[in-house]
Symmetry: C2
Subunit: 237 residues, 2 copies
């Protein structure tokens, strides 16, 4: 029986629900058969795997961060997120996205639509937050995420001859715009949108128009707006 989880070990895994301990240890947790097998197939280092069948329901309930404990949980080594800027291909930059579900969904979208790198401002939500990780549905193991200064990133893209796009409530109808194959697409914070310092670096201001006949919501959810924007860039290929 090599599969007995000590109380101290349970505490150590539970502690990874807090950012403080994730930062200290450089570890994070993933749950579910699909997520764990994607972690194993990736170049992330899987430190340990715990199965409900082996450790029992109660032990799994104690280490799981989900409301109903998953059949399998892995502790995975985090990757550094301050890599060199890669200014090529189609990339996304998030300017202060705060909701982990939105962040995870955007990484899943970047994976689906073949966007190359997801950049995030330093004040964006943490990648290894369990809600972000789960919302990626495994895309976290395939996509590169880099935290950086977004205005500087915009300037680097422009120096490389690539356009910088942003979505704004007073931009130009995205459906009628010429969109290039490569470039940087900036998505803003859930309530404030793109910050002024970043906005002034944008070459092309895009708007997803409303088709409502009457009064409507002021904006779309940021993950949903990213979906429509990436779809528009890709369908033209």
């Amino acid at each position: 029986m090599g599969n007995i989880l000590s109380t101290n070990h349970i505490k150590a895994i539970r502690a990874l629900s807090a950012k403080k301990y994730r930062d200290e240890t450089g570890l994070f947790v993933v749950e579910g058969e699909k997520m764990v097998s994607e972690a194993q197939e990736s170049d992330f280092q899987v430190v340990e795997i715990w199965r409900r069948d082996e450790i029992g329901y109660d032990a799994m309930a104690r280490i799981s961060q989900l409301s109903s404990p998953s059949p399998v949980l892995a502790v995975v080594k985090a990757k550094p997120l301050n890599d060199e800027l890669e200014c090529q291909g189609l990339c996304i930059a998030l300017d202060g996205v705060r909701d982990p579900g939105n962040f995870g969904t955007i990484i899943r979208l970047a994976d689906w639509f073949g966007a190359d790198v997801i950049y995030a401002s330093e004040d964006s939500v943490e990648l290894y937050n369990p809600k972000t990780v789960q919302a990626t549905m495994g895309a976290i193991f395939r996509k590169k995420v880099i935290y950086c200064d977004i205005p500087r990133l915009c300037r680097r893209f422009k120096e490389a001859g690539l356009p910088v796009y942003g979505t704004f409530l007073d931009g130009q109808d995205i459906y009628g715009q010429t969109l290039s194959k490569e470039g940087l697409i900036i998505m803003g914070n859930e309530s404030a949108g793109i910050s002024p310092e970043v906005a002034k670096e944008v070459d092309s201001r895009l708007l997803i128009p409303s088709f409502s006949n009457g009064p409507t919501a002021e904006s779309l959810n940021v993950a949903v707006a990213t979906a429509i924007t990436l779809s528009e860039f890709r369908r033209r290929l």
Copy 2:
């Protein structure tokens, strides 16, 4: 001082976080300045409004369903959700959508893109779930939602001469399809997709293709897929 909330009254409002009590009383709760003012401007009947400034932080914390108690909370009378089927315009039908955040986001999208009615199967999540209500960002007060039998709804649309669309992982590339101005768009359950009984009523099977160069996620989140689908229908107008 007409603004003292009795303990029993607090209990009665708190109880509305449970579906059982929402069903018994026909009431639901909305929170936040924007949501409450949209409720007041709508044809929903606002039963009572409580402001943090008037009842105090502690009382608001007890009745609020949010992690940080909002400045204002309203108790609103629910509308019946089994109205007559309206087979005209562009409508959405949800076949077993279970996540309240997804349901609310889809209602917000229907509002933005001017879809007329949102139909939901009886096994879909409840409209008046607080998480659904908040995710609509006020669109719940503008859009008609009807629970019904989806296969019967599909037949009614076809009898009215309107096409029935559905999204499938083996459908035809949506970007190359002719999409009509009116019709019914069916979106499936988060993990199982569109059920077989509904699938056989679909005229046109649509696929949102992946543009990933390598392995990717098996599917998109249902709210995100609805966003891309509605965008495709509307941009052709």
